[in-house]
Subunit: 260 residues, 2 copies
């Protein structure tokens, strides 16, 4: 893969899953081959892409415990070029089940590198959707990733949480993954009626500078309706403001590749 | 205390913290003595009530590891009658630090019962704000609680998550806390422009019947602005639709006490 990206933020409901689904879709529609790995026991990325998060066979949990190969857990989504390794609720047991495994933080990395040499290289990008925490699943994702994408909801509690997030990233970088870098910070759920949104925008750009994407995802009801139809917003309503912002984000994301 | 309530939902960003802050405030303003325990390492309930989530002394983490008594960790908030045991980020280390303690799920319960006989009985209600997960901190809260309050955002992913939440509650009930019951389900962030909101409302009432509060919290920008001023929305703007809904919820909540 050209780059494995972990989409992370320990704050809940900031748009991690919505970003994974729609950025991955926008890139696939531009002809990139993309894989989404749903690392959240809630399985929202899985159902948002129209697949079952109750699948006893093809789930990332079975891959992590060695019951299934990663390759055989891959499903095609309804979007050509966009594949998925889905999640199911068994994943919530993984932390307890691997309590005695000193190397458990490396489980996902080893699977992606080991098979990466041959099979995963077909993907331009692999996006890992993380749960709202900094516990084992997110740590596994940080260890396995080349880069990070941080959705940041333009509201106070989310802005507050960013300090803790950056500290965790730095700790993982130093101890477990020196190559890890922030690819970008994406402002989400921007509400123009709320002056707080612009304040968070300004604060984020002051702190993260040009790591903050120019593209900002607006609050748009269509983005929350699409998953109830099991499809990305770009398929559900490609002309709404939410879809357009993810298409613009995909262009900005691609242009990052050609930067030095 | 008349009742210890855990405010839970493993889905992120559904309004757990906003509900704890504003329901607790509304009850205190009606003359009830209320304690909030912030059990989320993010410390949003703590900062939303204007306190520091960086306090090395008075934090629920120090109480749980036995370094401070619960009584001495209590702070008064700016709302008369509303007290707080705040959180700080050290709490995220608790699960790893107590990995060898077979009774760790009971830590919070023992502290509240042991001191409850004398000190905590002054509180009409104790509200415990939980992180977006079903791991140790939330389990501790489920074990310690008499009742549950479940904020349910009227959007698809949140509705999906409710099945997993109910299963977890049933498991804890059977194994660890037979007296546990759902006090109520609160529909939050209801957006009248989004037909999905009414669908989730109808679905929730079909499933949970009269456990769903009649009061529904609307999406209201003031609720997300208030924490940036370190105050509950009821103090920031008591006439906005968000504040009014939490005042109505407090009345509905109180009237539940006199039901058989
Ligand atoms: N820009 C937007 N406008 C309106 N609704 C949105 C937007 N982005 C996401 N949503 C909705 O907001 C809710 C939270 O988004 P999402 O589930 O993607 O966040 P998350 O960070 O993955 O949450 P979690 O922390 O629980 O994993 C969902 O119901 C989603 O459909
Ligand atoms: N009714 C509402 N209208 C508008 N914004 C709201 C409303 N309720 C909560 N918010 C805002 O939405 C965001 C998520 O709410 P909140 O933090 O209370 O959810 P949570 O369930 O506690 O999240 P977490 O899972 O991260 O603990 C916050 O920025 C909050 O200020
Ligand atoms: Mg998610
Ligand atoms: Mg919260």
């Amino acid at each position: 893969a050209r780059s494995i990206l972990s989409v992370i933020n320990q704050k809940g409901g900031v748009g991690k899953t919505t970003t994974v689904i729609n950025l991955a879709t926008a890139l696939a529609k531009k002809g990139k081959k993309i894989l989404v790995i749903d690392l959240d026991p809630q399985g929202n990325a899985t159902t948002g892409l129209g697949k079952s998060n109750n699948d006893e066979g093809k789930s990332v949990y079975n891959v992590l415990i060695g019951k299934t190969s990663a390759k055989s857990a891959i499903q095609e989504s309804s979007v050509p070029g966009l594949d998925l390794i889905g999640s199911n609720v068994n994943l919530s047991g993984l932390e307890v089940e691997t309590a005695n495994d000193a190397n458990r933080a490396f489980l996902l990395k080893e699977i992606l590198r080991k098979e990466n040499e041959s099979y995963f290289n077909r993907y331009e990008n692999i996006f890992i959707d993380c749960p709202p925490s900094l516990s084992l699943l997110t740590v596994m994702s940080l260890v396995a990733a080349d880069e990070l994408l941080i959705p940041l909801q333009t509201e106070f509690f989310a802005l507050e949480g960013i300090t803790q997030l950056v500290k965790t990233i730095d700790r993982i970088k130093i101890n477990l993954n020196p190559g890890l870098g922030i690819r970008g910070v994406l402002l989400t759920m921007f509400d123009k009626r709320n002056k707080l949104s612009s304040q968070v925008d300004a604060e984020a750009r002051k702190h993260f500078k040009d790591k903050v994407y120019k593209t900002v995802v607006p609050r748009n009801v269509r983005l929350s309706e699409a998953p109830s139809h099991g499809m990305p917003c770009l398929v559900y309503d490609k002309n709404c403001s939410g879809s357009k912002s993810y298409i613009n984000l995909a262009e900005e994301f691609i242009s990052q590749n050609s930067q030095p």
